[in-house]
Amino acid sequence: MSGRATRGFLLALVGVVFAAPIDPLRAQDPEAEARSTLDGVYTAEQAERGRQSYMKACTECHALAWAVGDVVRSWEGASLYGFFDVMTRTMPESNPGSLRRREYVDIIAYMLQVNGMPPGEQALSTGSSRLRQIIFRWSDTP
């Protein structure tokens, strides 16, 4: 269905396609496959900060142990960005998107750590493109 132009500020028309950048869940660059959550993609300090943030922002609804196992395992093969995207759009329930970008990424680092994914020398980046380039790999995957 078509329509005519409106005078509305920030309002577009009928059938307008969502204009925000589409973020693929998995990295499109073949080289990105070289990096996975088994490659030391966060630091231990970052994970500790993430634990603190998790305790502050998440445990009202998500037990500490909830971060271990299926909640991460089922993202196997997807990029960290998909996880980051869901978190920042919907969490915490009391004020979604209210944490700093750094805090969300720290929480991801904590969740990687408690699932046995090793820390490394370099902190997990807050950049969307970097997050897209890291793939969830479960540590006991053959």
């Binding site: 269905m1 329509g3 005519r4 409106t6 005078r7 509305g8 500020f9 920030l10 309002l11 577009a12 028309l13 009928v14 059938g15 307008v16 969502f18 204009a19 589409i22 973020d23 693929p24 869940l25 998995r26 305790m55 445990t59 009202e60 609804c61 998500h62 037990a63 500490l64 142990a65 909830w66 299926d70 909640v71 089922s74 993202w75 196997e76 093969g77 997807a78 998909g82 996880f83 995207d85 869901v86 920042t88 759009r89 919907t90 009391s94 004020n95 979604p96 998107g97 209210s98 969830f136």
Partner: protein, 692 residues
């Protein structure tokens, strides 16, 4: 020229006849009615009913282009009879104004759960985690006044700071007043014109709601009941000269204590703020329902809050109270019995607080199936019989429809056997009520056919992921983490965030009797752990309960995809005259996380909708819906008769809660409460261009 049709209603005399017939029905229980043994009890309330009817007064709210209640009218129809905006012109809607509500607390708010009311030439709403009350010019969006309670320790301790849904409006001696319940559980009465507290109400305009609940342990230093956190996020409702006040509690997923304060419902004098009555949602000795608590748990435990907005029929003099689960959400071994009035719909005489009727949707609730939406009042005709009805939509995907005067189910509600708990000390109810009509509006229970089905591989991976948990029908009880049968808990489908819930809820069209329900396809995995492992598993302290859950969360399906097959969210139109579904549509397009997913490339994916509760509004000819929290910033315009999607309109941010509509200066407005990542909380007013 816009018309304002009046809702066709039963006359007072007709309502009385229906009431009498209903009481007779109570005396001869069919096995489907609740309140067994309650015929005499119900009969005791009849004189009070008659008295209320004598007071008269039609259900009101949306006449003359107003929106006087959170749900539009006192029956929470969330329906506007306005028709200036229709299917031929909605494409030309533009933003008339925006109002910014992000800085009414110490944090910038990226969520906005408040729906304005419109009375006369003003809008009133709450804003921010302090739950400030604001008066806004409906034509320009200008802030006219703002009131907020002074900082207090109870605000800081409140678990519902940022959940304010709105305010209530009443009149005393012809002058308007705005009622709000604060996060610290105070009630304030403000002059509607000036925003100043009304000194003759309570103490300088404030009533302390942490008084008057009963003889429970009290902390005088903080001025709160010791055992549990009680507050409210919803506005009260005013019926005649009585303010009826509900409440909400802290989350009950894994509480540290089985001790809690019960969420008793209270009535207050609109003029003075004096407490007039209290209805014990946890019945005390000698009160109806006390015997549904089979040991002494009634002396110390609680919750059973009425946290959703309330509805009322001022002509019948009845207020309708939807209630929550008793403590805790997923384990009730310490509270054997059906646990009235947990997870019930209660009809109270608004003037006296006496019970008129009730229905318990879930006996001995261990699924967190609390009633999450205001009851929706509508007059329907079923097989030629005019019925004043109330419909409750629920997290379990059922719609329960009753004669609102008598409590008699419009269609039989059958008590059917359900799977039984094997958790030590738990005594689950052998049966649960199952409405025979309308059909469920959302997927219920877990079975293989419910899992993601885009490809056989994904189905197989989903089965593998799901196989470590117990599957079963809708009332499959929670089970133990690391159970000896090798499972780690049980699926609850729709689950904590599925089915109907407050952000979407439902709307009902009084002209057609059509109910529109926004639902989300969801699931929880409920795994119980011993209370003395709480600190290790959950964090914080251990619990003095035998068992608590690991939380209400679900699990993802394979490769970060949803575990269940689409649609991920729906809007369902249900004709309450027949109980039949008229249509069902997905609540939006297929998200990028699906269309762009590598495992799904080249596949023919259906329109999936979104994993959220659509925020719906119904007008004379249209249904509008926003996509809800975390989804795309779009307003969808739908032909309500057919479910056909007509247009989508871009918004600055996604909608967060129920929209509303009003007429002002000859122009119809639609107000959307929006916010999202990077877009702070704001109201967006849509209207056709001036002079259109």
């Amino acid at each position: 020229m816009t018309e304002f049709p009046r809702v066709a209603r039963l006359s007072t005399a007709a309502a009385t006849l229906v009431l009498v017939a209903g009481l007779q029905a109570c005396e001869a229980p069919s096995g489907t009615a609740q309140g067994d043994g309650g015929s005499g009890d119900a009969a005791q309330t009849a004189p009070a009913m008659a008295s209320s009817e004598a007071a008269g007064g039609a259900r009101t709210g949306t006449e003359d282009g107003e929106w006087r209640y959170w749900g539009g009218d006192e029956g929470s129809s969330r329906y506007s009879p306005l028709d200036q905006i229709d299917g031929d012109n909605a494409m030309d809607l533009e933003i008339a104004w925006r109002w910014w509500g992000a800085n009414y607390g110490p944090q910038v708010d990226y969520i906005y759960r408040g729906t304005p009311i419109k009375v006369g030439d003003r809008l009133y709403n709450v804003a921010g985690s302090r739950r400030a009350v604001v008066s806004i010019d409906p034509e320009t969006g200008e802030t006219l006044w703002m009131w907020r309670m002074r900082d207090n320790p109870r605000w800081a301790a409140s678990t519902r700071q940022n959940y304010g849904k709105g305010v209530a409006y009443g009149e005393v001696d012809g002058r308007g007043r705005i009622l709000v319940i604060t996060p610290g559980y105070y009630m304030a009465a403000l002059d509607a014109e000036t925003g100043r507290p009304i000194e003759s109400f309570g103490e300088d305009g404030i009533v302390d709601l942490h008084r008057g609940l009963g003889d429970y342990p009290f902390d005088p230093e903080m001025g709160v009941y010791e055992s549990g956190d009680i507050t409210s996020s919803s506005p009260p409702i005013i019926v005649g000269d009585v303010i009826v006040v509900g409440n909400s509690h802290d989350r009950g997923y894994y509480p540290e204590k089985k001790e809690n304060i019960p969420g008793h419902v209270r009535g207050y004098d609109l003029r003075t703020g004096e407490q007039k009555w209290i209805f014990h949602v946890l019945p005390q000795p000698g009160e109806f329902g006390h015997d549904t608590w089979e040991n002494d748990a009634w002396t110390y435990t609680g919750n059973i809050s009425a946290w959703a907005p309330l509805s009322a029929d001022s002509e019948l003099g009845i207020v309708y109270i939807p209630t929550d689960t008793p403590t805790n959400d997923y384990f009730g071994g310490f509270r054997p019995g059906d646990n009235l009035y947990g997870t019930s719909l209660i009809a109270l005489n608004a003037d006296t607080g006496e019970r008129v009727w009730h229905f318990q949707m879930v006996h001995h609730d261990v699924w967190n199936m609390d009633n999450p939406d205001a009851p929706h009042l509508v007059d329907i005709t079923v097989d030629g019989e005019e019925i004043p009805a109330v419909a409750a939509v629920t997290k379990q995907g059922f719609t329960y429809v009753f004669n609102r005067a008598t409590g008699e189910p419009v269609w039989p509600i059958e008590e059917l056997p359900v799977p039984q708990s094997d958790v030590p000390t738990e005594q689950s109810s052998p049966t649960q009520p199952h409405p025979t009509k309308p059909a469920p509006f959302e997927m219920q229970g877990m079975q293989e056919d419910h899992l993601i089905d885009f490809t056989p591989d994904l189905r197989a991976q989903a089965i593998e992921i799901a196989s470590q948990y117990r599957w079963g029908p809708v009332f499959t009880p929670p089970s133990l983490w690391e159970d000896e049968d090798g499972t780690n808990g049980a699926f609850v489908v729709p689950g904590a965030n599925g089915g109907a819930n407050i952000p979407g809820g439902a709307a009902v069209d009084p002209e057609t009797g059509m109910l529109y329900v926004a639902s989300q396809r969801g699931h929880s995995v409920i795994s119980l752990i011993p209370g003395d492992q709480r600190s290790e598993v959950v964090g914080g302290e251990d619990s003095n309960m035998e068992y608590v859950s690991r939380g209400p969360g679900g699990i993802r399906g394979p490769q970060g995809l949803p575990l269940l097959k689409p649609p991920y969210g729906s809007i369902t139109a249900i004709d309450l005259n027949t109980g039949e579904h008229a249509w069902q549509i997905p609540n939006g397009d297929t998200p990028a996380s699906i269309t762009e997913h590598p495992a799904l490339q080249g596949l023919d994916i259906p329109r999936t909708g979104k994993n959220a509760h659509a925020n719906i509004l119904v007008t004379r000819t249209l249904l509008f819906y926003g996509e809800g929290r975390g989804q795309e910033p779009l307003l969808h315009v739908v032909d309500k008769a057919t479910g056909e999607e007509l247009y989508t309109i871009d918004l600055p941010a996604t909608t967060n809660t129920a929209p509303m509509s009003y007429m002002h200066g000859g122009r119809q407005y639609i107000i959307l409460s929006v916010a999202g990542a990077g877009e702070p909380a704001q109201l967006v007013a849509l209207a056709l261009p001036e002079g259109y």
